[in-house]
Subunit: 323 residues, 2 copies
């Protein structure tokens, strides 16, 4: 079994030699650009590692791994249009560089390319894997829709928020590991457990992302407090709003819009409320609960513990990335 | 075998009872809106009729027929954003009614729903049908990209134009009949012939669309000469440019931008050049060549002539729609 680093190399090489036509240039160049932008390759890695839990062969899972990575990048392309984001991974977003029309269309083509790669799985597994992919894909759309709806919603509960991030970010991890497990020959029972492992891991990861936005040290490509300045409804903000008295809620609601304050003052003021309400500690607690739940699920799989070492190592590495 | 009218009813009923979730509302309401907008249901009808050439059963082809119709409507949704079209089939376009973000995302969800329905075909046919659908879908994107590229291209040849419309509009008909034929148990040879039938029919149909824009009588939802006023590079314009002397080319290039003329004058001036260059006759000629080629292909199929009567009748009806 290759090490996790070797597996990542294998995947990067496979993705790099995935060919796209030269013409029309403005359709395919943005696709190559998106896929070469780096990124952790989290989803294809989870797919390959999930396959590796059950099988010593993972090469046959490379096309499906590429499919989930291409699908993920398609969602980023379209999300960047919808969020009007000019930068992605430190470079201009596709719509900033080529315009909105190209971003819409290249995104569409990327989704089709993902399905094309997925269609290459063994025929006996295709219906099941396709069904998983379809469900996962439409749930990601649902999550994105709820995220956009919440921007206009005055009061979002913690439950609603967790449901939204489960759909928007976690189900893709869940789909990836399920597809990987199926390709490795896992039972439906083990697939269900791995799916839940990935959901819990995804939620922990997203909560950590929320926490690091405001309390991180150094963020590659992201400044501290961006969510606060946007007035974004993250786990921190929603939990704080649910615990705060009315004066504190006023501060939370209005600070980011207060033109008399500079950015640094806005961030400090909101974080002071967060600190007083113990938001960092409560968030860390949730992260830990979810992450430990994820790891515990790995122990319940019907394989020897040694077989889950690699995926466990990967999950731990993921959560430790910026501490 | 049901009549073509009955088949259309059967399809409309099937589509109407295809369920979409209630929530999130802003994701699914636009999908229902798009699909209930009427339209000729050309692509699903061709799919069902192609199936019916080879088999007396067509019910099992309904999910795939719905898939191609949903895919087609997805392309219209995204195309309307890219073309900034406020109206579709006499009603506000989805992005005019709900905004661009909803149109992008609902379109994405529609494409996934199309794949979901397609996934329901018999497992032994799924790889082949999926491959056809994937190829067709990405080619539609390529066609749309070329169409957008051509807006900035000073000189588009007839060959380039025909290639673009083949990709943008005809391959979807080709894919539809191929999938229908496969579901009917056709041989690969007959599939190839039907595919070419649909391509030729699609080209004839698009050329007729170009002709009717400027020379039609009454156009439901479209005024006469819209393409002329946009300076759009259609078959008429491109053929005219290739035949015209320089003074005539100047007229063709600049008239639509001439602010001293009202719309009626612009249209009359360009049509006068078209008439002088025999563009209507040449276009009619191309339409006839393509259409007759299409019908001739039906005769080469390895079935009794009676089995192609319905699809032949449908094709004839399509081309006769506005004469």
């Amino acid at each position: 079994m290759p090490t996790n680093e070797q597996l990542l190399d294998i995947f990067e090489n496979y993705l790099a030699q995935t060919e796209f036509p030269a013409e029309p240039e403005r359709l395919y160049a943005p696709i190559r650009y998106s896929l070469s932008g780096g990124g952790k390759r989290l989803r294809p890695m989870l797919l390959l590692l999930a396959c590796g839990v059950f099988s010593d062969r993972t090469d046959h899972a490379l096309p499906a791994a590429a499919a989930v990575e291409i699908f993920h990048n398609f969602t980023l392309l379209h999300d960047d249009i919808m969020d009007n984001a000019a930068v992605r991974r430190g470079k201009p977003s596709v719509h900033a560089r080529w315009g909105e029309n190209v971003a819409i269309l290249s995104g569409d083509a990327m989704m089709i390319c993902a399905y094309r790669l997925l269609s290459g799985v063994p025929a006996d597994k295709l219906p099941r894997i396709l069904a998983m992919f379809n469900t996962m894909a439409v749930e990601v759309c649902e999550g994105q829709q709820y995220d956009m709806d919440f921007e206009q919603k005055p009061k979002v509960s913690v439950v609603e928020y967790m449901h939204m991030i489960e759909l928007k970010t976690s189900v893709l991890l869940g789909g990836a590991v399920t597809i990987g497990a199926l390709l490795g020959g896992a039972s439906e029972e083990d697939c269900r457990k791995l799916y839940r492992f990935a959901i819990e891991l995804g939620l922990a990861f997203q909560l950590q992302d929320d926490l690091l936005d405001s309390y991180g040290d150094e963020r590659l490509g992201k400044a501290i407090g961006g969510d606060i300045l946007e007035g974004k409804q993250t786990y921190l903000m929603i939990t704080a709003m649910s615990r705060a008295d009315e004066p504190a809620r006023e501060i939370l609601r209005h600070t980011y819009k207060d033109d008399t304050l500079c950015d640094g003052e806005k961030i400090a003021r909101v974080k002071a409320v967060y600190d007083r309400l113990e938001i960092p500690r409560l968030t860390e607690q949730q992260i830990t609960v979810r992450f430990e739940r994820a790891l515990a699920l790995l122990d319940t799989l019907s394989v020897d513990a040694a077989r889950t070492a690699r995926i466990r190592e990967f999950a731990v590495g993921l959560m430790n990335r910026k501490k």
